[in-house]
């Protein structure tokens, strides 16, 4: 993964790499993936003194009408993680080509916060929204594990998945993802823990198990579908941006494969 960079701005590739690593901890709250994997980081620019550097990051999204609350979260989280790097003196994060770019960029520049940025349109905070999608990500991860198990074991029925425990799941990416999401919600991750639980960690009564699995399935389909559609729209909108995207195996289809293009020098402001 390499950022699209303009030659003149690169002073220290190591510094750019540090910034990119920091940005890899910023998640798209809806898709539950790092913005660096989604190709949302358009450019990273480091200038100024080595111990008081000025970092400028441009963020881009799949459409002008992506939800401004998510756009704001990703941009402000980006600013926070870069500001935490010890050698950074000043951070400028700019959201490009969004219907609220002017509003969000002004709010970020002034460190106005969520309510200061959006005024009357903001009520309290975006933490509940973040939590809602963290729960959905857990629901989807849970369903992936159980559906894989159902496909692998013809003797297992949907009605009986309610007693499957973490220790019954085969090791691998799908299980790791579930454990990570359980941990993020503060749910137990030991082998004896039941897999199919609500977001408070409560298992379902036997008669509700098939319905809980079905609801979880629709959530998984939705998140996978959105994650791939957003990636595709970004590639359509910004030529060459596929080179900045990491593959997402979950829900992938042949058309999601894209030609990896070489790194190109690109004008940031058209």
């Amino acid at each position: 993964m390499t950022a699209v960079l303009t030659e003149r701005t690169v002073r220290d590739p190591g510094a750019v790499q540090d910034v990119r690593q920091a940005l890899a901890t910023v998640l798209d709250p809806e898709l539950d993936e790092p913005i660096t994997d989604l190709g949302f980081v358009r450019s990273i620019d480091v200038t100024g003194a080595p111990d008081r550097a000025v970092v400028t990051v441009h963020v881009r999204l799949p459409t002008s009408f992506c939800s401004p609350n998510f756009a704001y979260l990703m941009a402000s989280d980006s600013k926070d993680v870069i500001s935490a790097l010890p050698w950074v003196g000043k951070v400028v994060v700019e959201l490009d080509d969004h219907h609220d770019s002017a509003l969000i960029n002004a709010g970020l520049a002034a460190d106005a916060g969520y309510r200061g940025t959006f005024g009357h349109e903001a009520e309290d905070s975006l933490e509940e929204l973040r939590m809602m999608f963290r729960r959905k990500a857990h629901t989807a991860a849970m369903e992936r594990c159980l559906t894989e198990l159902l496909r692998a074991d013809p003797a297992l029925t949907e009605a009986n998945v309610g007693t499957v425990r973490l220790g019954d799941l085969p090791a691998g990416r799908t299980k790791d993802a579930l454990v990570r999401r359980r941990t993020a919600l503060g749910l137990p991750a030991e082998p004896a823990a039941v897999v199919l639980v609500d977001h408070d960690g409560r298992p379902y009564p036997a008669e509700h198990v098939p319905m809980a699995l079905r609801r979880a399935r629709s959530t998984r389909i939705s998140i996978d579908g959105n994650a791939h559609f957003c990636r595709g729209l970004l590639r359509t909108r910004y030529e060459g941006s596929g080179a900045d995207q990491a593959d997402r195996p979950e829900g992938a289809e042949p058309a999601d494969q894209h030609r990896l293009l070489p790194i190109t020098v690109k004008e940031i402001h058209p």
Partner: protein
């Protein structure tokens, strides 16, 4: 009508538009951003041979619409679902006069649905009454993400929206099409939240609520709400073209919809001019759930016929030749409609 392998399909395109996004009609940069967003959808999801130029995409006009739908597109009847977008376009995005006049000239082929905005208050109610007196539309299309002065979106459960639904009831406007766009206020919540549909469908059981784009990007929330309400339907606008680029995703969307809301409540839509109906109809008739997706039963010919036209024809009282009609599936009014048809093979 579309015919293949001895089967005849009556086609109703339940969501079309006659729009004008040309630069001279754009009020500001958001007008350009909006049509560019549509064009990126078009470019991203269309087969190469169906791609339009950007110029073609900005404006089509009535003549081209008639050709794309009724000469080339197999469509028997289509329903206008206009988006006004007065904050983005000087004369609106959907062209009211042009669409209404086209429908009036071809009443056998076109139905004109109108739109309203509950934030227009009493004056808007007066206008709705006057417009209905003149145009006699059977339904409305509501875009909840419409900008309106200081406000950038509304909920169907807002008190003023209820006043408008009460008026719809009095006027006999029965079909409420809802596009849950990214509603901005309040920003604290999910912009695509569909829970207001739940409230309003429970409180207006004599109205039909057709959720466009089957709630995408919140398919899961839509399915959960729709399964509990007998008067909530799903429109496939924007979902259809996934058949081409992402057929497994499309299979799952259809599989989930048949499970949660049943085969009698799903409507085909090209979302013209986002896409044209011809290739969508042809491909849907050929479409099948992939064999390895044993959690869904294969789609039947009758289900395809209902989705492609019979379901919407019933809601809009569009006459269908007797030999093409099909009986309802006899599904329950609420709850998963066809649970036995949708299970992993291991569970059956």
């Amino acid at each position: 009508m579309y015919s293949k392998d001895g089967e005849n399909y009556f086609i109703v395109d339940a969501h079309i538009a006659l729009w004008d996004a040309r630069p001279e009609n754009q009020r500001n940069v958001h007008g350009k951003q909006f049509i560019d967003c549509f064009y990126d959808y078009h470019r991203n999801l269309s087969p190469e041979e169906e791609l339009w130029t950007y110029e073609e995409y900005l404006y089509q006009g009535g003549e081209r619409l008639m050709k794309d739908l009724f000469e080339d597109g197999y469509v028997d009847h289509a329903v206008f679902q206009p988006a006004y977008l007065g904050e983005f376009y000087k004369n609106g995005f959907g062209q009211t006069k042009e669409a209404y006049e086209l429908a009036a000239a071809h009443p056998d082929k076109l139905t004109y649905n109108h739109s309203f905005d509950p934030r227009d208050g009493e004056r808007g109610l007066d206008r709705l009454r006057a417009d209905h007196e003149k145009m006699k539309f059977p339904g409305v299309k509501l875009y909840t993400a419409e900008w309106h002065g200081e406000s950038r979106g509304y909920k169907l459960s807002d008190p003023w929206a209820y006043r408008y639904f009460e008026e719809c009831r009095r006027l006999g406007i029965k079909n409420i099409h809802v596009h849950k766009g990214p509603t901005i206020r309040p920003l604290d919540r999910d912009a695509f939240d569909v829970s207001d549909v739940d409230h309003v469908a429970s409180d207006f059981t004599d109205l039909n609520f057709v959720v466009e784009h089957v709630g995408l990007p919140r398919l899961e929330d839509f399915c959960w709400i729709a399964t509990q309400e007998p008067n909530v339907y799903g429109g496939l606008a924007v979902a259809m073209p996934f058949m081409h680029t992402r057929p497994r995703y499309f299979a799952q969307i259809i599989g989930e919809l048949i499970y949660w809301i049943g085969e009698d409540r799903i409507f085909f839509s090209s979302d013209y001019a986002l896409w044209t109906p011809r290739w969508l109809v042809e491909r849907f008739v050929d479409f099948q759930i992939p064999e390895d997706m044993t959690e869904y039963a294969p789609i039947t010919i009758d289900q395809r016929k209902k989705i492609l036209g019979l379901n919407a024809a019933k809601m809009y009282n569009i006459p269908v030749p007797a030999e093409l009609q099909l009986p309802d599936a006899g599904e329950t009014a609420t709850g998963p409609r066809q649970p036995e048809r949708a299970d992993l093979a291991g569970a059956s």
